[in-house]
């Protein structure tokens, strides 16, 4: 599906609620890209379900227009899995912050990746806890000074892409919220991917993170899309980029061309929402089994 063939415009995914993000927050750009990608892939708000985590990032559920749930901290992915399994016809997009996804939600992340449900997961990675006012996050640098790390966290930051790869990811993307076009494009590919489309988005926090700034990302990001040699289906090449702690990469870093989504493997088809007024046909057989 492409934007040409669809009547839904990006603006249809916008709600009339005014974002309360700080002026300049990366999340504005991140959200815009998500809305564009949803529109470009021919989705409709009435057939789309957004699950948002808790954090500044988690507010997107309110600012976008679709069916949506703003859950509890760290549990957005399982909610998305439930939605998609109960109705594979829906477009399911899960989103949240680095704390939500890689700290309190780290376990779910590992397991959602390996389940390879056909949905997308967009993490707004600002390397800080924004909503709770500036404590270090799992992606914060070892020496990043915050209220709870006056001398830096002194522990290896989580590498979300590596974690995804180790968990058996079939799609790994990374973008930068202010590179609007690339960001929307990669998210679009994540949506189109047949399986779990994971995109880590550098979405700077202008209020509490003075290290991982727009300038920093602008200068350090290497776009794999610019590299004609790069083969996103080559796992080894992906590992090399992902484990490279000297550089930050943008683009689709890895995609398994043979990915088969969970739903297909398990033969899940159609919505589970429609049920008969009484017990379903064949229910009496269940009783007979106990003879």
């Amino acid at each position: 599906m492409s934007s040409e063939s669809s009547d839904v415009r990006f603006i249809d995914f916008k709600s009339d609620a005014q974002p309360t993000w700080c002026p300049g927050c990366g999340d504005f750009g991140t959200m815009n890209g998500m809305m564009k990608a949803l529109a470009n892939t021919g989705n409709h708000p009435d057939d789309t379900f957004i699950v948002a985590g808790i954090g500044c990032s988690g507010k997107i559920g309110t600012y976008m227009h679709s069916y949506a749930l703003h859950g509890v901290h760290g549990r957005a992915l399982p909610v998305g899995i439930g939605v998609k399994t109960a109705n594979p016809d829906l477009e399911v997009m899960v989103s949240g912050g680095d704390g939500d996804g890689y700290s309190i939600g780290a376990g779910h992340f590992v397991h959602a990746v390996r389940r390879n449900i056909d949905m997308s997961y967009v993490v707004m990675d600002n390397r800080i806890y924004g909503l709770t006012k500036g404590q270090f996050s799992p992606t914060s640098r070892e020496d990043f000074e915050t209220a709870t790390s006056p001398e830096g966290p002194q522990q290896a930051p989580v590498n979300p892409l590596a974690l995804a790869l180790a968990s058996g990811a079939t799609f790994i993307g990374q973008t930068f919220s202010s590179d609007a076009q690339r960001h929307a494009q990669v998210v679009q590919e994540a949506i189109e991917h047949d399986g779990f489309g994971f995109v880590n988005v550098y979405s700077p926090c202008v209020t509490f993170n003075d290290v991982d700034t727009y300038d920093y990302f602008r200068e350090s990001l290497v776009d794999l899309g610019d590299d004609e040699e790069y083969d996103r289906t080559d796992e080894e090449a992906a590992i090399e980029r992902i484990m490279d702690s000297q550089k930050e990469y943008q683009g689709v870093i890895y995609q398994d061309p043979d990915s088969v989504a969970y739903g297909e493997k398990h033969g899940i088809e159609g919505s589970m929402a429609e049920i008969p007024d009484g017990a379903p046909d064949g229910a009496t057989d269940l009783v007979r089994e106990f003879y």
């Binding site: 379900f49 679709s66 069916y67 509890v72 399982p78 109960a86 397991h111 398990h266 589970m272």
Partner: protein
């Protein structure tokens, strides 16, 4: 010849005790006999004593008794664990040729029947069939036609090929023949058969079947004793009805998956036991605040913490009624019998959707491991009704949109219940959140809206209190001055205890309460009684406290917290004791951990003389 036979097979965990017992239970059921089973077991895979016990009668049975007529003892310890239950004339079947049983002597008064189980099994095709040989021997002892075993042997071993089935049938006959031919004693047991056709199932299976009947299509869970059977029942079955089971990575995930499925419009459920209920507490509040219909099943086991995972307790009531931070409207529905596990599951789904709230469906280990016979009509699929509540579709949506055409999923209606649309419904797109929100589901901190939404959620409970019949199951003499109250699986034992008490000339009024919240108003019943006794399997008397608060009356308590379910004899003794002004320990088992707990203030007031 007693109608009522108490039978058991016991040995080490890993000896196949469970399937052996189940084969015999099914055979009895096939023969038109009622069966009520219980299990003694330890949460180890091997190396722990375990037993499968069957009480059988041509009449319906609802409880265990502390008596054993026929015991297949694969180990010495099996006999030791059951000395109290054995009586004059009890028959113990054992293999005197096994080294560890060589020196075995049957307790005084009992009949020790040495049958060379292993040898006969080997002759029939393999030592592994020794338990089946024992079953054959047991048939001979009970004058029960061994061919009743055939159908269950086929069920169990059919998958492994017909020669295995045949060998097993032969093994059973070898056991029977050995008793008939080599021992040739007669025993005081003779099992009648009837033409009735029963089904045999346990509480977890009944919950699973109820869920499918009610239209549940999505189940997410994480294995935990004694709730795992619900998941294992559903897996492989729910798919036939278009559903799916996810084994989640933990309970936090399981409840959130179910929440997602429920928001997508499916009837969704998760089941767990105490530790999982704790882990689900945070999301439980989210389910309630977002007004998502969902059923969360708690099959209680002995706590606190990991406690005794394979032992009985009804210790989670406080948590189910009060757990989770903040103020969470909820429903708590409990099953009191195996059949009720089926019916209450269906009801739970209907309540959840009618009132758009999470419903705790509570059962206990005793229900979940009990396999019990019922006429199949008890599970009448044609009688199942599904009420999805105010699900709004098509153009009806317009009624529930605001001036800007936005759907209002949390409209503050008079009943407190709001319209509900499911994703995919045109024009119904909306969000919801665990933050306090307005009618549109968007966060708010406006004091008026906050108060309106709290009141609205509370109003759902009030509406339900008014509109639904929150009845108790009543038994006994409505005019008796003695009122016994209970919840959960104790119902059966109390009913049997009532028969025993009746024989002594003591009548009581018994209300078995399946609705824990909202619950029946018991004020009148309590006020009408001279003596109120609350029976429950826990130490602190959680239900008793609830009753005391509801009725402003102190009650007496019979509590048991040693991990073993009540049995009828014991209960009758305790009740008698309490009525005689005793402390509720009765004259039965002094170590049973049963106590009569009352608040310090009350002790003085009541001046109980012991």
């Amino acid at each position: 010849m007693p109608e009522d036979l108490n039978w058991a097979v016991g040995g080490e965990a890993g000896d196949g005790i469970d399937s052996t017992g189940k084969i015999f239970a099914q055979a009895l059921s096939r023969a038109g006999r009622h069966v009520f089973t219980s299990k003694d077991f330890a949460s180890r895979i091997r190396g722990g004593y375990t037993a499968y016990k069957i009480r059988t009668s041509t009449e319906r049975i609802e409880s265990v008794v502390d008596s054993l007529d026929v015991l297949i003892a694969l180990t010495q310890r099996t006999v030791e664990e059951n000395t109290e239950e054995l009586h004059d004339g009890s028959v113990i079947i054992y293999d005197g040729e096994r080294t560890m049983m060589e020196d075995f002597e049957a307790p005084e008064g009992t009949v020790g029947l040495s049958v060379p189980l292993q040898r006969l099994a080997e002759e029939a095709g393999g030592a592994i069939m020794q338990n089946v040989v024992a079953l054959g021997a047991a048939c001979a002892v009970c004058e029960f036609d061994v061919s009743y075993l055939d159908e269950s042997l086929e069920k169990r071993f059919g998958g492994k090929g017909s020669s295995i089935v045949d060998n097993n049938k032969e093994a059973a006959r070898a056991g029977r023949d050995y008793v008939n031919d080599e021992i040739a004693d007669t025993f005081p047991y003779d099992l009648d058969t009837t033409d009735a056709d029963y089904v045999l199932l346990n509480g977890d299976e009944a919950i699973g079947m109820g869920a499918i009947a009610a239209g549940c299509r999505f189940y997410a869970g994480y294995p935990i004793t004694p709730a795992t059977d619900v998941m294992e029942y559903l897996k492989g079955r729910i798919e036939r009805f278009g559903g799916h089971v996810v084994q989640a990575e933990d309970e936090l995930s399981a409840i959130n998956m179910a929440l997602g499925a429920a928001r997508a419009g499916a009837r969704a459920m998760t089941a767990t036991s105490g530790p999982g209920i704790d882990l689900m507490a945070e999301t439980f509040g989210l389910v309630a605040t977002t007004e998502t219909p969902m059923v969360i099943c708690d099959v209680m086991r002995s706590g606190p913490s990991t406690g005794m995972p394979t032992k009985q307790e009804q210790g989670d009531l406080d948590m189910l009624l009060h757990g989770g931070h903040g103020e969470i409207p909820r429903f708590v529905v409990g099953a009191t019998t195996v059949a009720e596990c089926f019916h209450k599951t269906i009801e739970a789904f209907n309540l959840a959707e009618k009132y758009q709230t999470p419903v705790y469906l509570v059962a206990d280990l005793a229900l979940s491991v009990t396999e019990q016979t019922y006429p199949p009509e008890e599970f009448d699929m044609d009688a199942v009704e599904v009420d999805r509540g105010p699900l709004v579709r098509g153009s009806d949506i317009e009624e529930w949109t605001n001036d800007s055409d936005q759907f209002t999923p949390h409209a503050a209606t008079e009943s407190g219940v709001s319209p509900r649309t499911i994703p995919g419904t045109a024009g119904g797109a909306h969000m919801t959140t665990g933050l306090e929100h307005d009618e549109l589901g968007r966060r708010t901190e406006e004091t008026e809206v906050r108060v309106e939404q709290v009141d609205k959620r509370q109003r759902k409970v009030e509406t339900a209190q008014r509109d639904e019949a929150w009845t108790a199951r009543e038994f006994g003499d409505a005019d008796s001055g003695t009122l016994v109250l209970s919840w959960g699986s104790n119902e059966g034992a109390i009913r049997e205890a009532m028969e025993l008490l009746d024989e002594q000339g003591t009548t009581i009024r018994f209300l078995s309460v399946p609705y824990l919240f909202p619950r029946p108003d018991l004020t009148e019943a309590v006020e009408a009684a001279e003596e109120v006794i609350v029976v429950e399997c826990n130490a602190t008397g959680q239900f008793a406290d609830v009753i005391e608060h509801d009725t402003l009356t102190r009650v007496k308590r019979i509590n048991k917290y040693d991990g073993v379910r009540f049995d009828a004899d014991e209960l009758a003794a305790h009740i008698t004791d309490v009525l005689a002004g005793g402390d509720g320990k009765g004259d039965s088992d002094p170590d049973s951990g049963t106590v009569n707990e009352t608040d310090a203030e009350t002790d003085a007031e009541q001046e109980i003389t012991t």
